[in-house]
C-alpha cells in the first residue's frame, strides 16, 4: 500500500498542506483505517505534520490515533477504522462534487479484506448508478487478512477455503465490472503502472463509470522479515526488527524525503 500512497500523495493528489481544508482539494479516504501509520507517514513527508510527531502515534492525546480521527488532524478527510465504511463517504464526496459542479476527484483506499463488508457493495452499486466517474477506489489486493492467507499447508487443513485469500476463487475484477465500474488492474509496486492508472482514473470515463484500481501487492513489500506474512497485520516490531527494516529500506527512503508540496507535480498551482 505504501507505494500506492506515496505515488498518490506526491504525484497525483491535489492537496496543499498550507491550506489543508481547501474547498476544491481532492479528497482521500483511507477506508482500511488500520493502515493509519502508513498514511500519517506520507502526510508527514508531504508536509501536513512534523515528522517527529510520528513518534506520538497511538499514544494518549496524539493527533495520530490508532485509526484516523478527522476531528484531530488536518489533512484527514474522514474518520475510519470501522471497516467497510470509507467507500460510502467517498460516494457522498463525489456526489457532492457532481451536484456542485466541482472538479475535485475523490480517492478511496480499500483493503481486499475489508471489502468483505456488505456496506462496501451498497456503495459500489450506488456509485455506478450516479455515474460517479469522479470517484476512484483503489483496492490494496494483497490477498492477506488478519487470519487469512494464500494457499499453504496451514490453509489446506480443511478444503473450505475460508482461511485463504479473502477473495479466493472469486474474480474480483469481473465482480466490479458487473456492478458497472471501470476496472484497472495493476502491479501495485510498479510506479509506472500506478502513475498511469491514476492519470487514467482522474481523466474519467466516457461512460461515466467510477474507476476501481485493483492493485496487486505483497504485504510488507521490501521488508524481508514481513513480506507476505499475514501475522504482521498486528505484530509490534522489536528493536531488532526495526533495525533490520531500517537497513533494508533506508537508502531509497531518504531520496523521496521532500516537504515542498509544489515541487513534484505542480498540481496546486
Amino acid at each position: 500500500m505504501m507505494d500506492l500512497l506515496v505515488t498518490l500523495y506526491f504525484e497525483e493528489l491535489r492537496v496543499d498542506p498550507s491550506d489543508a481544508r481547501a474547498e476544491d482539494r481532492d479528497r482521500f479516504v483511507l477506508s482500511k483505517g488500520h493502515a493509519a501509520i502508513g498514511l500519517y507517514s506520507v502526510l508527514a513527508l508531504r508536509g501536513f505534520l512534523p515528522l517527529d510527531e510520528l513518534a506520538t502515534f497511538d499514544k494518549g492525546d496524539s493527533r495520530l490515533q490508532g485509526h484516523p480521527d478527522v476531528t484531530r488532524l488536518p489533512g484527514l478527510d474522514s474518520s475510519t477504522g470501522s471497516l467497510g465504511q470509507g467507500l460510502s463517504v467517498g460516494v457522498g464526496m463525489a456526489l457532492g462534487a457532481q451536484l456542485g459542479q466541482k472538479d475535485f476527484h475523490t480517492w478511496v483506499m480499500l483493503g481486499d479484506g475489508e471489502i468483505q463488508e456488505g456496506m462496501i457493495w451498497e456503495a459500489v452499486q450506488v456509485a455506478a448508478r450516479y455515474k460517479l466517474s469522479n470517484l476512484t477506489a483503489i483496492v490494496d489486493r494483497n490477498g492477506l487478512q488478519q487470519f487469512g492467507l494464500p494457499s499453504s499447508a496451514e490453509t489446506t487443513l480443511t478444503d473450505r477455503g475460508d482461511r485463504r485469500d479473502p477473495w479466493f476463487g472469486v474474480d474480483l475484477a469481473a465482480v466490479f465490472q458487473a456492478f458497472g465500474w471501470r476496472v484497472v488492474e495493476i502491479n501495485g509496486h510498479d510506479y509506472g503502472q500506478i502513475r498511469s492508472a491514476y492519470k487514467l482514473a482522474r481523466a474519467g470515463d466516457y461512460e461515466g463509470r467510477p474507476t476501481v484500481i485493483i492493485a496487486h501487492t505483497v504485504k510488507g513489500k521490501g521488508l524481508s522479515l514481513a513480506e507476505g506474512v499475514h501475522t504482521w497485520h498486528s505484530i509490534v516490531p522489536t528493536a531488532d526488527d526495526f533495525e533490520k527494516a531500517r537497513r533494508e529500506l533506508e537508502p531509497d527512503e531518504l531520496e523521496i524525503l521532500d516537504n515542498n508540496p509544489t515541487s513534484k507535480n505542480g498540481a496546486e498551482a
Binding site: 474547498e23 479528497r27 480521527d69 478527522v70 476531528t71 478527510d77 474522514s78 474518520s79 475510519t80 477504522g81 470501522s82 465504511q85 467507500l87 460510502s88 463517504v89 467517498g90 460516494v91 457522498g92 464526496m93 463525489a94 456526489l95 457532492g96 462534487a97 451536484l99 456542485g100 466541482k102 456488505g118 456496506m119 451498497e122 456503495a123 452499486q125 450506488v126 450516479y130
Partner: protein, 313 residues
Amino acid sequence: MKAMRDVWGDKLVELGATDPRTVVLDGDLGNSTKVDKFAKAHPERFFQMGIAEQNLVGTAAGLASVGYVPWTSSFAVFFTHRAIDPIRMLVAQSHANVKIVGSYSGLLIGAVGKTHLDVQDLAIMRAMPDMTVLSPADEAELISMMDWAQAYDGPVYLRIVRDAVPDVFDVDYTFTPGAVYRLREGTDVAMVSTGPQVSRVLAAAVQLAEQGVAATVVHVPCVKPVDEDALRDSVAGHDLVVTVEEHSIMGGLGGLVAETLTATGPSPRIERIGINDTWGESAGNDFMLTKYGLSPELVSKRVLSVLAARVPS
C-alpha cells in the same frame, strides 16, 4: 390536524427552497415518510439511495463534508439499529453535519409490527457522544426544531411519528436546545414526557384533575443535551415523579430523569411508564396504546394506583 409526516415533508420542501445546501437521502420509503414532497420539489437534490441504510448514512457524511446539509430519511429503527455503526463513526464521532430523521418511531406506525417500530432509539442515540437528540411534541415544535437543525452545524437525531398529534404549543413557538417545558402546574404528582406522548399525558392530567389529583406536566423535547438544572427545577417540590414515554422504560426519557434527579442528593420516587422490555407487535394505534398502557386513561389509572399504594407521610 396534519399528520406529522406531512408536516416534516412540507417543511423539508421549504428548507430546500431557502437553503440550496439542503439535500435529502431516502432509503426507499419516500412515499411513507413523505420525503416524496421534496423529491417532487427539488428532484436534483433528492437521492434515492435504495434499501441500504448504512451506505445512505455514509454517503450523507460525505456530502456533509463537502458543504451540504443532508437530511436522511427512513424508519427510525433502520437508522438506530441497522446503520448504527456508520452513524457512530461517520456522523457522531466525526461531528458531521448530518440530520438523521427517524420516521415511524414508537409504537404507532400503522400496523407493521416488531421489525419496523422503534422503542429503543432514544436510549441508543442518547448514549452516543456528540449527538443531539430531539423529540418534538407537536407540529409547531417539529417545524421550529427543523429550522434550528438546519442552522446548527453538527449531528442531529430527530424522532418523529407517522400520524397527527394534537397541538401543544402556539404556532410562534421557538425551540431552544436543552430547554424543559412545564406545561401544567400541580401539587400531587409530576408527570414528565416527551414527543407525541406529551399530549396524551396532558389528557391524563385532565382526567386526574377530575379525580381530585393535581398533576404537573413537563415536556423534555431535547432528550440530549438537556438542561439538567431546569429538569430538576421543573419537578421541584414533588415527591412522586412519573415518566411516560412511547419508548422502552430503559435508558430513554425515564433513564434521563432518573439519572438527573438522583445526581444531586435525595430524589423523589420515580415511576417509569413505557414499553416494559418487550418488542411490540403489529396492530392499530388504539390497540397499541391500550396494550402498552400509554392511553390517557391507562396513564391516569396507573398514576392513581401509584398514589394509592403510597404510605402517607
